[in-house]
Subunit: 360 residues, 2 copies
């Protein structure tokens, strides 16, 4: 389905027009350190070069690129944040290098092809927001054949976890239903209308909201109870939209903790700054959003709950199939179908499960 | 400016598609009692008549109209909630009377003109959401010359209040700024970029958010420290869009409490069910959202803060001018310009104030 640009603006871009939101990203030290180091430890990729920053926001990556010696930086931003970016560029005395362009990347015309495309396009669980589409579009139109992508690679991870969130959410769902039954009684008693025919749709709506929508969380590494699998590996230089529109993966996970509960799964991502294989980074930088005690990011991890949890133990194996597609109503949101079966260490096979989730 | 229907859907209608949200309205006993009594204590307006319910949501008002004896009820709803309304009508055995029509009121064609238009179109501070436009459109096209509007009248109220919210919000604003200054320092130290040029725009953004956006609140009647003024009086049978597009009012308020603080203003509304002057309601019903201990509604009141508060006392007079317009970006949101001067009982005139607010 074609994307209505104005609807997309109302749904998606509007939050990026707030400095408050840009500041949240600019305060994420893990994110900032990774991009900062990727640029300044690989100055040879920037020095004297033309750079394109896709979605410059406050302008930070464009400014760093200029400080690292870029000859020219095109900083494209769809929202009015472009005006703040322009002011920031000027206040940092880089207006002779950085040109801020307000507009959608898809619509913008540059006067030349560039040596580097830099962008911070990653959403929750990597692909939420579908902003990488715009980076692909920019790359295909504006990157020189010898050009480099920053970041150059991206991966999605999936791992079995334990968490108390499931019980809390189940409790929330159950209270909502208790409330509903009282509401049905009251509406019949006081207002003469029988609402019970809406009980099922209401329950579906609430289940979707509380139990099937993936949850933002900072997982502690101890909550990961098994091996983590890479479910998608993206080469930013060659990936096409059709490569990322759907993420389909079959993989195995093993439980590495004794006698515990499988309460759900955690999803996260990492991106790598490797330059190009013909012209590799002097220093490869990795930005990971994996569970960590000291290095948490604003992305956190996405939690997909199981209801109810399943008793598992060390040596149990999980064979899973994962399918992530874009929501029909909004191409920036995702739907996940997860199927899996558990083979206990004893060899016994548990009945297979299948769940549907929404990344909203 | 023309309204983009799809953007409007993304911004506005989407919440109404959730049963959870409809249930919140259906659980507002003050609201429900008012409409229930308006219908059932004035059955002669409904009995044997054709009724149009503008924005039927769950279908509740349409069902009551049918239960009160309507010959035919057209229940128009823009969202997919129409499907639940249809199921509810059927479960309550009224499908021979109530016809649920999915669509925008503006686009729908009815097979006949109607005797009654009923609608629950009121947003925060009455006019937020601008849904009354759709009721006016329905009335001009589909109400018989002898027809009645339910509700028939609506009024906006404005009163001086005291509240601790202002200090809390001022504190929030100040913490946000403290945080900002730390952020500017850190960004300079660690990342070599001077963000201080964005301090003013950030401060403006945060002020707008914390101090200039009207706040939803349940005011206690004791918090009202003076007389309340009616700043708009609407006859639903005759009002045109141009009558409500802008609300302009000059009015006076007197402080009725000794030695207190004017911390801001509260805004609320009431609507009346009077039938038509040629065919008045047997029993006039009033739905008020004024501050009340026992009868609070989901609308609450809208609070407009003063920063800083002003010492006032009994007998002080306030002369105010009020202008509410629609936001350019979204015609369903409002902007308020409030000017006022205080004449103390002693006769002394304080310097006049002027504030700008946003109803988001
Ligand atoms: N297609 C597109 N064209 C232009 N800007 C886009 C875009 N898609 C997303 N953006 C912008 O990209 C930004 C992503 S957030 C990252 C901001 C900045 N580069 C930083 O690292 O801090 C947002 O400001 C968003 O408005
Ligand atoms: N122009 C329009 N055409 C059709 N439906 C509209 C409309 N503007 C608003 N609505 C619908 O009107 C409803 C208002 S809420 C009131 C719902 C119901 N009448 C009740 O009293 O409980 C929402 O469901 C909204 O989707």
């Amino acid at each position: 389905a074609a994307v209505d640009k104005d609807v997309d603006f109302a749904n998606y871009f509007c939050t990026y027009a707030f400095l408050f939101h840009q500041k949240e990203m600019l305060s994420d030290r893990v994110r900032m350190d990774a991009y900062y180091n990727a640029i300044f430890e690989n100055k040879h990729h920037f020095n004297g070069k033309a750079v394109l920053d896709v979605g410059t926001g406050s302008g930070i990556l464009a400014i760093w690129s200029a400080q690292a010696g870029a000859r020219k930086v095109y900083a494209v931003e769809a929202t009015k944040m472009s005006e703040h970016a322009r002011a920031l560029v000027k206040a940092n005395n880089l207006e002779h290098v950085v040109e801020v362009i307000e507009g959608s990347m898809e619509d913008v015309t540059l006067p030349e092809k560039v040596d580097v495309i830099i962008s911070e396009w990653m959403g929750y669980f990597l692909l939420r927001e579908s902003m990488f589409d715009s980076v692909i579009c920019a790359r295909d139109r504006w990157l020189k054949p010898t050009g480099a992508m920053y970041p150059s690679h991206a991966r999605m991870w999936f791992a079995p976890i334990r968490t108390g969130m499931g019980e809390r959410k189940l409790g929330d769902y159950q209270s909502a239903m208790d409330d509903w039954y009282n509401f049905v009684d009251d509406t019949k008693t006081y207002y003469g209308v029988d609402m019970s025919v809406l009980t099922n749709p209401f329950s579906e709506e609430q289940k979707k909201y509380y139990l099937q929508t993936s949850l933002w969380n900072h997982l502690h590494p101890h909550q990961v109870i098994g091996t983590a699998a890479i479910i998608k590996d993206i080469d930013c230089l060659t990936a096409s939209v059709s490569d990322i529109e759907e993420v389909r993966s079959k993989f195995s996970l093993s439980i590495t903790m004794e006698n515990t509960k499988l309460c759900g799964f955690g999803g996260w991502f990492d991106v790598h700054f490797r330059g190009r294989s013909e012209d590799p980074a002097a220093q490869e930088i990795i930005l990971t959003t994996a569970p960590s005690i000291d290095y948490s990011t604003h992305w956190g991890q996405q939690v997909f709950l199981l209801d109810p949890p399943i008793r598992v133990s060390e040596g149990d194996n999980l064979n899973a199939s994962f399918l992530m597609t874009r929501s029909k109503e909004n191409h920036r949101l995702m739907e996940v179908e997860l199927g899996y079966e558990i083979q206990q260490q004893s060899g016994k096979l548990l009945a297979p499960f299948k769940n549907k989730y929404y990344i909203e």
